[in-house]
């Protein structure tokens, strides 16, 4: 009867939060990859970690499987305290790494078979689990193909299905669509969305704004190992960037003028490559400067909050 059980009246099998991080810190020498991070992932939701490369997303993912050990802070996954009880948590998690680590000389089915064993699926259920994963990955007719004969999209689907073979309660997806064609990316979104609608809890890191906006119930924007904002994507946009944005195009000198004028009018701006975006212009009949109106998006929020452009 340990204290943590008193804190979770339903016991470790039914925590309200699938993931709970408090003040997690991870340092590599002089670099602080994760810098006092708090993160809550409620059961049954999809949370997106949004941030540029190097924001600490992948390190956060590694902390959750105890492949990195935090220097400070508390981490709980599915009610299990990490790193001590990590193995229990890992048994009920599925992990899709950013870098494909399938066994390329094995067939699709053999890859799933290996993970059915690693995730301790009993002999009687193994076959069914593999079939289910093949269906989910839409690879039933490619079951006997060697992985090195598959397309990039198929490989990524297999990588995700491999993490689902044991019906995990929590799925960690590290940049699930990085480096894929837009079409393939949409296929994977459908797959992730199907998983979400089944009630699986998902933590997904991404540096694609659209991906976070479409799939995540809650987005946490990370920068330099810290959370700079968190909330439902639409609420974050309204809170930080307003409903609409005016985008002004022009030569660099003109853009500088626009920034100055908007600043004088008390409006926030950001550079969008060849243009300046003037944020929070809603509620006015016109912004002080003419330009193209467009809905505000998460990217505006991101750049505003972190001062960083996102890839």
């Amino acid at each position: 009867m340990s204290n943590d059980r008193l804190n979770h009246p339903n016991g470790p099998t039914e925590p309200e939060l699938a993931i709970r991080l408090r003040g997690a810190v991870k340092r590599y020498g002089t670099i602080t990859a994760v810098d006092g991070l708090d993160l809550d992932v409620p059961v049954g939701t999809c949370v997106g970690l949004l941030g540029p490369n190097g924001a600490g997303k992948s390190t956060t993912m590694r902390l959750l499987t105890a492949q990195s050990i935090a220097d400070e802070g508390e981490i709980e996954v599915l009610g299990f305290r990490l790193p001590e009880e990590s193995k229990m948590a890992r048994a009920q998690c599925g992990v899709t790494p950013q870098l494909d680590n399938l066994d390329t000389t094995l067939t699709v089915e053999q890859n799933l078979l290996v993970f059915a064993h690693l995730y301790r699926i009993g002999r009687g259920e193994r076959r069914e689990a593999i079939e289910r994963a093949l269906v989910m990955a839409k690879l039933v007719d490619r079951r006997d193909s060697r992985v090195d004969k598959l397309s990039g999209g198929m490989r990524r689907r297999l990588l995700i299905a491999r993490a689902l073979v044991h019906r995990p309660r929590l799925v960690l997806l590290d940049e699930p669509t990085v480096g894929l064609d837009p079409q393939v990316r949409q296929e994977l979104w459908a797959l992730i969305d199907a998983l979400r609608s089944e009630g699986t809890t998902i933590l997904m890191s991404t540096h694609y704004i659209e991906e976070a906006q479409r799939l995540a119930d809650t987005v946490m924007i990370m920068s330099h190992g810290k959370a700079v904002a968190a909330g439902p994507p639409s609420a974050l946009v309204i809170e930080h960037a307003g409903h609409e944005v005016v985008e002004v195009y022009g030569p660099p000198t003109r853009l500088a003028e626009v920034e100055a004028e908007a600043g004088a009018a008390g409006l926030r701006t950001r550079r969008t490559g060849t243009s300046v975006s003037i944020l929070g212009v809603d509620g006015r009949n016109g912004s002080p400067i003419e330009g193209e109106r467009r809905p505000a998006n998460l990217e505006d929020v991101f750049v505003l909050l972190t001062g960083e452009e996102i890839a």
Binding site: S2, R5, Y28, A66, D103, Q110, V114
Partner: protein
Amino acid sequence: MAVEVAPATRRLGRLERPALTGVLVREVVNFSSYWRSSTFSSTVEPTIYLLAFGFGFGSLVSRIGGRPYVEFVGTGTVATAVLFSSAFPAMFGTFVKYQFQRTYDAILAAPVDTEELVTAEALWIATRAGVYGCVPMLVAIAFGLDPSWGMLVVPLIAWISGFGWACFGIMIAGFAKSFENFNYVVSAVLTPLFLVAGTFFPISNLPGWAQFLANFNPLHHCVQLVRDAAFGFQGWEDLARIGALLLFGVIIWRIAIYAMTRKLID
């Protein structure tokens, strides 16, 4: 509200069978795709040594200790086959699996700990070494070595030896910063141990200090045990040799786990 009774185990144990099985299944399934090349290199190389030394050298030195030289080398190269099929694949395979294929990242995200991963990999390589190790002896039998009951123990000797060398390879891969580091280990450690193991010439002809040092060479114990298995066991002396091999295996096993934990968990 009543406080529930905590479940018996909040933590999965160490060295669990399902975890070891999972890693072994991966190796066995993979083996089905590369067994030809692996079997080829692990058996042909020592056989070439056996034939080259047995017949090349054997024309100069016809007998050692009252036995035909080919029988002396045929039993000795069992240790060579064990070394070639354990230390080398362990070293290169481990490095490739964590550095290039990132296989270990995937395995450690499953309910498998580094200790289980290293142990299962070593058990698998040891088993292969136990089988491949017998090849030179079988070749020697084809060339006139008389079969004996004691030879049935040779797979076990090769297995115990192979476990230690597998752990050695994993340990080196765990400490290595790059592939090039292996050159130092091969040149400075494995080659000397391999040459002064009593495989090709008897240790008893060496100076006293070298004979003394040979006691610290696990390959030498493997060579002697295989010879004794073929020609007659030496009682306590052989038990001591088995003890030395077990000690070597256990110590290097723990160091390999330490090295790989440092490498894989940050």
